[in-house]
Amino acid sequence: MRKITKLLCFLLIVMMVFTVVGCGGGEKEPAKTGDSQNNSGQPSSTGNEKIDALYAEVANLQGEDALKFFEGLKDKGLNDAEILQFFIDLPLSQANAQIAKIYKDEGFEMYGKSYPKGETYNDFQWSKGSGTKITGPYSKNDLKLPFTDYVALDEGTVGDASKKYKIGVVFHGFSHPWLINWADAAKWEADRHSNVELNVQDAEFDNNKWASIMDSFISQKVDGILVWPMVEAPTGPPVDRALEAGIPVVSVDRTSGSKEITSRITGNFPANGAQAGMYAIWKLAQEGDLNAKAVMLRKPLGSTADAVRTGHFLKVLSYFPGIEILKSYHDTDNREEAFTNAQSALQAYPEIDIFFGTGDHEALAALEAAKMANRLNSRKDGKKIMFLSIDDSKEAVTQVKDGLFEVNTPYTPLISDIGMRVLLNIVTKSAEMPQDVITPNIPMVTQKGDVIFGMQTQTPDQWYEYTFGPALK
């Protein structure tokens, strides 16, 4: 009996301690206003005098003043691409102490700095309507690859027409809608070249399996390897082993832990976060109140997509002391988990103005949770909760069209064809390829194609053909 009592007491004490710790750690102090001392988390100079002068000017602004400054960017001579770049490189402000603290505590500066930046290859500019319609070889989805003119490669044989080029592809996720479309784009490109022999392997979200597939490609002496590394650290050594064996390796989307990797094609994570921040501020200004409470539903802690997107989102918000981040919830890229997190947030916080999701799973989960809790229009004066979504699945973009999501900032899996072309150019020695191939930024999607701080957005119908995943109906 004593033992039982002791154990029960122990259990209760443990629960009490953790609950108390949890309650204390869950809330963050709201921002103190009035601290106008700005502190850049970015390099002090961008190399562009015009932009540097603008950063110096905005440094001491906050709230309404910062808003007016942002609204005047077009008049200061910036075009759409420059406006977006301005927000991407915008230094962190100390005006919102809570946001500045989150930014510092989570090390977002480091993630932002290490993410590849620069100009597109040969100054490529993407234009609406360009690209190629395909049926996904694996998914059978109707897709349109937006960047088939980028690092363009003619159909037919590549390099030495009499030689078969063996290309290995290792990724995770024939069971994942985003990743299966990633594989679709890579295979489509390879299939255009009759002397390319493709071997696509799914590591099923197991980094050890990923490494063993890489080793098997090395032993098969393939001519080149295209990879989607889930995380950085464990994927570095297998890439290095391939490079030591003289096999070029190209990564697409996430980066591997290898610094020597032959080439890496990266997407627009920084733009995604900055665009979501821009939209939130613009929308609040339209509503006439720059005070708001936001919940962030996020991807796994430490993933590049989560850190870079959240960091760039917070940088824009940091100029506005009236914004409070109620809480961050992480999931494991699982919509059911995100749904539970959103339900908890709705339960814990009676006032939520904004749900920011670092992926489409998170925003879609928040929408369903808000609907189920009858909280969709629960803001002051019956206004609708704002849902800021990233990743342009057909499902997410349809929500923008239906007016349920305020914005979608596209991030497409349909960039692996670029990786395949880069790899084939390297393998066949047809062209010199840079280590970093930057993917063009994509305009955000709003229901009516609004102009946000002078920057033209696109409507769901304009972007829909480029979206990924199956259609809703």
Binding site: M1, K3, I4, L7, L8, F10, L11, L12, V14, M15, M16, F18, T19, V20, V21, G22, C23, G25, G26, E27, Y138, S139, K140, N141, G173, F174, S175, H176, P177, I180, L301, K327, Y329, H330, D331, T332, R335, E336, E337, F339, T340, N341, Q343, S344, Q347, A348, L364, A365, E368, M372, A373, E395, G469, P470, L472, K473
Partner: protein, 325 residues
Amino acid sequence: MEDMVIANEMNKNNLRQALLKNHTFILFIIMACVMIIGSIFVPSLMQKDNLLNVLRLASIVGLAAIGSTVVLLVGEIDLSIGSIMSLSLVTGGLMVGYGSVPALTVTCLTGIILGIVNGVFVTKLKINSLMVTLGTMSVFGGLANVATRGQSIFLYDSPLYLWLGRGYIGGIPVPVIIFLSVGIILSLLLRFTKTGKEIYFTGANKRAAWISGININKIKITAYAVSGLTAALAGPLLSSQTNRITPIQGVGFELSAIAVAVLGGTSLSGGKGTVIGTILGALTFQLLLNILTLSGVGTYMEQVLKGFLLIVIVVVYQVVDKPRG
């Protein structure tokens, strides 16, 4: 008079001993403590909407756990619950275009068939159930991916299907009604029918059950069929909450289901456990998760505490079960 006092005291002591040996009673006490302490530190815990959410989520994992309980009662294990959920979901999901009723019927039938497949492998091929269901977990999970090519099936145009996971009857969430109905029916069947008693006998002592004329194979196949059905039933309740069916929706569910069954007092060695215990286990499990989420300890710390608390509760059971010398 003195004799009556002594007899009353002895009865009281016996009752106290019996209660302290009863896992369901202990779990009830633990759940009550969790609720009281949780409501002190997390005020939103006891709000009506939150409690309804807890009940709704407990119903989903609880349904799967009820099936797991029946399999554990016959002394076997089912690691393929999550994959059965995924495969039956997508099989039914492929019928969604024909309406919610055909889709849900196919889902349930698929669950039963997959459960029977497990049972037949375990009994006829005499392979250890851990290995069989480990294998079928992979086979069923893979088939779910093959059937959908890894794609989601959306439920936006299936109001009846969505109602199962989101609807209310008399203010009570539909999943809760389904969960409690299945739980009560199975509890009565286990307690008052011949087959129910044979399930307990088989798990408690296989050889003795066989000698006494019980068709052990039939009993085991029945247990797996029940497990398949409850896993399949839990699937639509889960998928309707997020408006879509995916081939990986059930991944990891088997562990939660087994954990809840054990939490509810079901023995891993068979013959001991109740469906009522599993229902309480599901409620306690979900309540703990809810407190951890609301208190803001973070997703990763939640995983640590969830496992830790599970171990603590199982240790409590072991202590009370230990014979006193």
